[in-house]
Point group: C2
Chain length 262, copies 2
């Protein structure tokens, strides 16, 4: 049965727990370790949800859905580039925030300030040289990410660091859901309650198993590592005041509001 694991702050203490109806059952230890219940229970509405994990390594995947690859090719005036190899890149922990946290648009960011709704893989079991048939055994669960992107910086800078890693550019949450089949999920993005994107979460160019196998040929995957799996479609611009929701069926809905840097 799918369980939903939350990382949250209450009374200035950061803890983990799992959702039982609208209550959080608090645990000692990490969800992918051997967590033990503390006996405490809090109403979900009484806590501040945080990004559900701060990863040792924060992997991400670009150009992994067909409509997104075609949209980028159109925008930049080149032929669509379907990556032959499952290469990964990185995001930075400073950029993480959680459910209902503001996405802060920097003062010098331009108009092309966009959401990217993504499935996030949370690794639960250490592995190197993982075989395809065992790949999903290394997944603890699934959460949702919004890979906020400033397209002018993405075009002009040598790297994606500020285009995709400013503080608050990586909302993640609301929680980690276990025991789900990502091939049966649907990703839906809503901007101010208007549906702006809908795609089959599993419609990936290189799938989750392929990435886990390929990464682990060279790098040890550790519990708590995350892989953001990329987005589909042609994202629209967001402006201060906009509310962006990323729903993935079976997991939940990540909701954040854009505000201007003060």
């Amino acid at each position: 049965m799918s369980k939903r694991w939350c990382r949250f702050k209450k009374n200035n203490v950061i803890e983990y727990g799992w959702l039982h109806d609208d209550e959080i059952v608090v645990v000692h230890g990490m969800p992918w370790g051997n967590p033990t219940e503390t006996g405490a229970k809090y109403p979900l509405s009484s806590v501040k949800l945080l990004a559900p994990v701060v990863p040792p390594t924060f992997y991400c995947v670009g150009l992994n859905y067909p409509a997104h690859i075609i949209a980028i090719a159109k925008r930049t005036g080149v032929e669509p580039n379907f990556p032959p190899r499952p290469d990964v890149a990185y995001r930075a922990n400073n950029a993480l925030c959680g459910q209902n946290d503001p996405i802060i648009k920097p003062k010098d960011a331009g108009e092309d300030f966009q959401y990217e709704g993504e499935l996030v893989v949370v690794i639960g079991k250490e592995g190197r040289f993982i075989q395809p048939e065992n790949a999903l055994e290394h997944v603890f669960g699934w959460t949702i990410g919004n890979d906020v992107s400033e397209r002018n910086w993405q075009r002009s800078d040598r790297t994606n660091w500020r285009a995709k890693n400013c503080d608050t550019f990586n909302p993640m949450g609301p929680w980690i859901a276990t025991d789900l089949d990502y091939r049966k999920m649907t990703t839906i993005v809503r901007l101010n309650n208007e549906e702006v994107e809908r795609f089959a979460t599993g419609d990936m160019h290189h799938d989750v198993e392929t990435y886990i196998v390929e990464i682990s040929k060279y790098c040890t995957l550790y519990p708590g590592d995350i892989i953001w799996m990329g987005t589909d479609g042609a994202p629209r611009n967001m402006k201060p005041g906009d509310v962006c929701e990323v729903e993935i069926t079976g997991i939940g809905t990540l909701r954040n509001t854009v505000i201007a840097q003060s």
Copy 2:
């Protein structure tokens, strides 16, 4: 006075301490927090030194020394590109290892398997919108990195992930040294005791203060974050059996041996 802070393992416990002659004075807490001495002292030779910090965010800088920029231009047949902006990129924590740990050359890595001796900045104080005149107050200390690089993958892949982030590709250490002036340091690389590189550590295209100021315009710098500052010169190839030493005057010498993946 400069202090040398070690992260080490003894009896399967990971601790921090500072070097007093050849003894480690063990502390509770992080060096950049308010560490308190536990009373324990160990001979340096009795512990396993580890990478001196596992950073929340692992920043790195490419193309930051003149001779290296010119060497790359020559290798790739283009005009030298001196980056107009101090853009950063990222490395991954899985790739970290410490003093005397082996650098494992993957089975499918090619001949162009190279060292890059680098100064590493260790952040000690959280900051955002840091001003140039305060930048160095946010530095806890300095250590040494070897940014091992597989050049064929660097050329062929969309990202540098496996070219620069395979397990053991980022040896760091031997310790963090405080209260030093990086503009007075010299970086020396030796391959099998032969000096193969020597440059003024401070001879950077964009200096440490510039990177701290620029990163903190967009990203909060946290205690324990690190910035690898790039290398100079045209690195040579390493093969299994080779011993690579990176010395930075005032800090110490990071020593690692290349071995073949078994």
